[in-house]
């Protein structure tokens, strides 16, 4: 079962246009970039990994000739069939990984007239991967004792924060949900935030680079919230900037969420949860 990309090429002009052929080019590319953090600046600049072509095809929609004046519509269809043994991935805009599908229409014109070209992006959503996702609830408790990489544990104020995420393998169209209860806290809370992070890994001959960057930060509590009262955790996954978790030989796109608690004395407490996104 192959889906098709279908549409019409619309040509509008006042009078008849002479041309030497109109063609459509469809292309799907994965652009990988190495961050300057992982490798040296120059290396990053020169060594950026070659783009991976996922799909590419070209058709001629009109032979050289004349398009009459007014509005002309030429229908077309492309089968969405990946090249060779490649797979089609979902459209994704990240920092170091970009998966993008474009359709370009070219009209070649005789001498003295510029060729015309128009490009547009089209979005690809994966076929549902699994029929059903088993929710994997995660309970968590954050206290000074559970924290890692703390320098002076003694200077930390006392607090107990409990909560749960309803699932860490999330459906991308559904929000991330859960609850969080501040059971006690010596120091007033300033803010509680959910930080959505993408983890992009690019592999190449020299090794691989793994970078985590923030996608969005959603505040779920502001000020010294009432203790003991569950606060909802709720975050919608932004379109384009998220895609189902992706793992290929050349690159990986993964997501994590951080529950960030800022105390009034500017202590920052973070609890990290890896997510697995999918589409059903």
């Amino acid at each position: 079962l192959v889906e098709v990309l279908a549409g019409v090429v619309v040509i509008t002009s006042k009078e008849a246009v002479q041309h030497q052929g109109i063609s459509l080019t469809m292309e799907g590319l994965v652009n990988l970039q190495l961050s300057s953090k992982s490798v040296g600046v120059f290396e990053a600049f020169y060594n950026s990994v070659k783009p991976i072509q996922l799909i590419s095809s070209n058709i001629e929609v009109a032979k050289p000739g004349k398009v009459p004046g007014g509005k002309t519509e030429i229908p077309f269809e492309f089968p969405l069939q990946a090249k060779g043994n490649k797979m089609l991935y979902e459209t994704y805009h990240g920092v170091f990984v970009n998966i993008q599908y474009t359709l370009r229409c070219d009209m070649r014109r005789p001498l003295l007239a510029k060729d015309l070209s128009k490009t547009c992006e089209f979005m690809l959503h994966c076929q549902p991967q699994k029929s059903k996702v088993q929710p994997t609830p995660v309970d968590f408790t954050i206290t000074p004792e559970t924290l890692q990489n703390v320098k002076e544990r003694t200077s930390l104020p006392k607090f107990v924060i409990r909560g749960h995420l309803d699932a860490t393998n999330c459906v991308i169209t559904q929000p991330l949900t859960g609850e969080l209860v501040v059971e006690s806290s010596e120091v007033a809370i300033k803010s509680i935030e959910l930080q959505l992070v993408r983890v992009e890994t690019c592999g190449c001959a020299e090794g691989y680079a793994r970078d985590a960057t923030e996608i969005q930060n959603i505040q779920i509590a502001e000020g010294d919230v009432c203790h003991g009262l569950p606060i909802p955790i709720y975050m919608v996954f932004p379109r384009l900037f998220t895609c189902p978790t992706l793992e290929t030989t050349n690159f990986k796109v993964e997501f994590e969420v951080n529950v960030v608690i800022v105390l009034h004395d500017d202590h920052l407490i973070t609890e990290n949860f890896p997510l697995k996104l999918c589409r059903v």
Binding site: G94, I220, V225, L229, M235
Partner: protein, 965 residues
């Protein structure tokens, strides 16, 4: 033209009357009455008997003609018919503008909510007026530094996204505007500017900018500096949010309206994909707003748009947003967010009660936050006291409870009350419960509430406010009969201990209503005494006039019996507290209005009279040179109303002395003086009626006293026409009461005042010529003169001559015929005077007919007078002929002709000839009205049929109708 000889026609009034009278037709009362439903059986058979009477019966044979109005409508009134028609047509009607549609929608929603739900718009103004500040405010706007989007745009970002990100940077580039030191008014203006720029941005298709403005505005709601102003800030900013919500909704709605508008009650299937996508886009955008409070408010603002996406959207979103508010730490910010959510919820989906309740229970759960350390620290920094701080919550909690309690079953209300009870320090909640719950509910448990109020902590929410809220409920709903007195006692025990006079009177004012409603004057008197006691020290009443006025208003609403009212010994002292003149007069006016409205019977109760005289005097004394005319008029109207209600029955002397007193008291208000003169005249006539027309010595003296009263009062009036008319009227009254010399004096006075009549008078603020008024008066004066007997010591027709002399000497307007018209109208009088028996006489007064008995010398005197007058008129006609006055000449000639015809004896040849000449003169220049001429001729023809007027037929031959040139 030689001098004319006048001969008055001899009239037989009785015979003429007989002839002119319509044939009397006895009306069968059971038969026809215009107001009776028309029931016609067969009109033809009775028609003979009904000749002359107007009859609306037709020859229809229907037995009962239905009411024409109801028959037209076939049972449904046209308005509801139209409404029904338009309702059924709605889907097919084309909707030209979406805002109309929205308006209707809103109305429908309100219908769903019902008119008994006090809308937010009613609260808005109240909150803005109440929560104000003198401290400096600041607005902090970070335009363009939104961090809610992907942080670093990479090379591969799609074009669409890139442009959007550029837009974010471009707009008011990185402008972090911080406006400091704003006064409250500046702040309000700034917010209004933002509202405007939101609309502008929207209409110029800068949707991102619009969204940013909204986000920035809602961000202001997380700032609680200058906390006293927070409720007002909330009102201002939610206005912007409302605008935004409406704009987004209308936009998406219009997207679906292509090609044809979708119905009001559209379902998700009616929405096309573009609209859905746009709508979804808004929600995604809003979901990525970084900060909690803007995200919450903006999403709530466009809650209604969920209708475009799916059926259950609203009912899923509301609970989620409700839960989201738990994340707001500041209890004040949270409670207002809840209030906004409840408000939007009530507007969009009033049937979803659960989230309203949930909001309330969440509020209870986080209630202890109010007394938490964070809040306390903040209050210390801002130097705001706890009671003041707590009152900031009231509008929001009131609103939430109002939404929750709206049409809620008693069980739920009881449960809520129980939950409130369990919380410590619940005065704030208790207050809102009493405000928002049904008054009946509160009233039935009033005793419980008093108990709870007593248990409240002294330091927290002010108790007088609690009692105020309770009193407000009890003013509209009645507690059980047996509990009323204890309730009043308990409440007043607390109220009377309130120290601040302002707080005291605010609370007492509310309770006065309850007291008036259920108790007698004794309790009200006690309450008044207490108010006086509290408000007198340091002249505290000066700052509380509005409340005191409201107390007065409430008392007046419940006590219409003025003898009861004034027998309250504290009522007048209470009245004395209104010491500022304007307020005092206002209060007096309201008392008088109630008196006039509710006093049915005239009264002589000395308590009422004294008190009201005092009240009226107060009103009267407020009149000064600067008082505007309207104010004087309304005051005079009220005082007149009072005077009319005073009656001492048969004790006429008492009544007269009351009028004397009143005259002294109300000397500055002319309408009142006029009313008094009328009252006295009426008194004289009443005396006459009682005595059956013949006065005893005592009553004769009394009516002379009345006449004297009028006589000395009238000159004090400034309005000349009032004076003239009153002289005439009083003269007539005196005459009717056989006070001949008094009548003479009145009429003489009137004549002597005549020359003073100015040529123009002001009528309703415009200068008008007084001529018409003067002519009217003179005519009516002339008709009175018929019955006035001549003064024995003066010459014949002394008054008539006097009047005519005055008319002659009066400086009439140039080019005016008024003088001549008076002369012409004097002729009928003189003709009537020369009859053997007069047209009318006054019983027990001998008029000239008896005095002279038709003495030829008297008649000759009259004729001579007439001849002079006719001579004058003719002279005047001549002068008119020379000038451009031919039209006036014609009309004057015609009226003299008519007078001659009616009153002159035309058997006399000279007079006859004069009449014919006048007719010709009036027709000479073709200015006369042909229709009138034709009718006159017909009249003459008819008259000529009478034997004694047969000579007219000869004259008729000589009168020719001029054909129009």
């Amino acid at each position: 033209m030689a001098s004319v000889q006048w001969h008055a026609r001899v009239r037989k009034y009785g015979a003429e009357l007989q002839r002119c009278r319509l044939d009397a037709v006895p009306v069968d009362l059971g038969d026809y009455h215009p107001l009776k439903p028309i029931t016609v059986t067969d009109s033809r058979s009775r028609r003979g008997g009904r000749k002359g009477s107007t009859s609306s019966s037709s020859s229809s044979s229907s037995s009962v003609a239905p009411d024409p109005l109801s028959s037209m409508l076939e049972g449904t009134d046209p308005l509801s018919l139209f409404a029904a028609a338009s309702a059924s047509e709605t889907p097919t009607l084309s909707h030209s503008s979406s805002s109309v549609e929205l308006g209707r929608k809103r109305r429908e929603n309100e219908e769903e909510v019902g008119a008994d739900f006090e809308p937010w718009s009613a609260k808005r103004g109240e909150i803005l007026a109440r929560f104000t500040t003198t401290e400096k405010l600041s607005i902090n706007l970070f335009m363009g530094s939104d961090k809610n989007k992907a942080s670093s745009p990479s090379s591969a970002v799609s074009e669409k996204v890139r442009t959007r990100l550029e837009e974010l940077d471009d707009l008011e580039e990185g402008s972090q505007r911080e406006l400091l030191n704003l006064s409250q008014q500046d702040y309000v203006n700034r917010i209004e500017e933002l509202n405007q720029s939101l609309k502008e941005a929207w209409s110029s298709d800068q949707k991102v900018k619009a969204l940013k403005i909204v986000i920035q505005c809602s961000k202001l709601l997380s700032d609680t500096s200058v906390i006293q102003f927070y409720p007002s800030k909330f009102v201002l900013i939610t206005d912007i949010l409302d605008t935004f919500g409406r704009l987004v909704y209308e936009r998406i709605w219009s997207m679906c309206s292509d090609p044809r508008p979708i119905p009001d009650s559209f379902s998700v299937e009616d929405v096309n994909d573009t609209a859905k996508e746009t709508c979804l886009n808004w929600f995604f955008k809003i979901a990525s707003i970084r900060e909690l409070i803007p995200r919450l408010y903006v999403e709530a603002a466009i809650l209604k748009c969920n209708r475009f996406l799916n059926k259950t959207g609203i009912q899923e979103t509301l609970p989620r947003l409700t839960a989201m508010i738990r994340g707001i730490g500041d209890p004040l910010v949270a409670v207002y967010a809840r209030a906004y959510l409840c408000r939007v919820g009530m507007e969009v989906a009033p049937h979803l009660k659960d989230s309203l309740n949930k909001n309330f229970f969440d509020l209870l759960a986080s209630f202890r936050q109010i007394h938490g350390d964070t809040v306390q620290n903040q209050l210390v920094i801002q130097r705001v006291e706890i009671p003041v701080y707590l009152t900031l919550y009231s509008p929001a909690i009131h609103w939430i409870l109002q939404c929750v309690a709206y049409r809620a079953p008693d069980v739920l209300l009881t449960e809520m009350m129980e939950r409130c009870k369990k919380l410590g320090n619940n005065a704030l909640l208790l207050n809102s419960v009493m405000w928002a719950f049904r008054p009946e509910f509160v009233a039935a448990r009033a005793t419980d509430f008093i108990g709870m109020i007593k248990d409240c902590d002294e330091a927290g929410f002010p108790k007088h406010l609690l009692f105020g809220s309770l009193g407000r409920s009890l003013a509209c709903a009645d507690p059980p009969e047996s509990e009323r007195l204890p309730i009043l006692n308990e409440a007043w025990k607390v109220i009377t201990k309130v120290r601040s006079p302002q707080d005291y009177i605010n609370c007492a004012e509310i309770w006065v209503e309850f007291t008036c409603r259920h108790f007698t004057k004794r309790e009200v008197n006690t309450v008044l005494a207490d108010i006086i006691k509290h408000m007198t020290p340091d002249r505290a009443f000066e700052d509380a006039y509005p409340q005191l006025q409201s107390v007065m208003k409430k008392i007046l609403t419940y006590f219409h019996n003025f003898s009861v009212l004034f027998s309250m010994e504290k009522f007048l002292p209470f009245l004395d507290m209104f010491q500022k003149d304007s307020v005092r007069v206002e209060v007096c006016k309201s008392i008088m209005e109630v008196f006039i409205k509710h006093q049915q019977e005239p009264t002589r109760d000395p308590v009422i009279l004294n008190a009201l005289l005092h009240v009226c005097k107060t009103m009267h004394d407020s009149v000064n040179a600067l008082t505007v005319e309207d104010e004087k008029r309304s005051l005079a109207l009220l005082i007149n109303g009072f005077i009319r209600m005073v009656s001492f029955g048969r004790d006429f002397e008492q009544q007269l002395s009351f009028c004397v007193e009143a005259r002294a008291t109300f000397c500055n208000l002319e309408p009142v003086i006029i009313q008094l003169i009328h009252t006295v005249n009426q008194l004289a006539m009443e005396t006459r009626r009682v005595m059956g027309g013949s006065h005893s010595r005592k009553t004769a003296a009394f009516v002379r006293a009345c006449a004297a009263y009028s006589f000395i009062t009238i000159p004090s009036l400034t309005s000349i026409f009032s004076r003239l008319h009153l002289y005439l009227l009083s003269g007539q009254v005196a005459l009717a009461n056989q006070c001949l010399s008094q009548a003479d004096a009145f009429l003489k006075a009137a004549v002597s005042v005549l020359p003073e009549v100015p040529r123009t008078i002001s009528v309703e603020g415009k200068q008008r010529s007084s001529e018409a008024f003067l002519l009217d008066f003179i005519n009516s004066f002339l008709s009175t003169l018929l019955v006035v007997p001549d003064h024995p010591e003066q010459g014949v027709l002394y008054l008539v001559r006097g009047l005519l002399n005055m008319v002659q000497d009066y400086t009439w307007e140039d080019n005016s015929d008024a003088k001549v018209r008076v002369y012409i109208s004097a002729l009928p009088l003189l003709a009537a005077m020369s009859q053997e028996s007069y047209l009318y006489t006054i019983p027990k007064v001998d008029s000239n007919e008896t005095l002279y008995g038709g003495d030829p010398k008297f008649v000759a005197e009259i004729s001579r007078l007439c001849e002079t007058l006719i001579g004058q008129v003719l002279d005047h006609l001549k002068t008119l002929g020379r000038e451009e006055g031919v039209r006036r000449q014609g009309s004057l000639a015609f009226s003299l002709f008519s007078t001659l015809l009616a009153h002159g004896d035309l058997r006399n040849n000279k007079l006859n000839q004069l009449a014919v000449n006048l007719w010709n003169l009036s027709h000479k220049n073709g200015h006369c009205d042909t229709r009138t001429s034709v009718r006159t001729l017909e009249h003459i023809k008819q008259q000529a049929q009478q034997p004694e007027l047969s000579h007219l037929s000869d004259m008729l031959l000589r009168l020719s109708l001029q054909s129009r040139a």
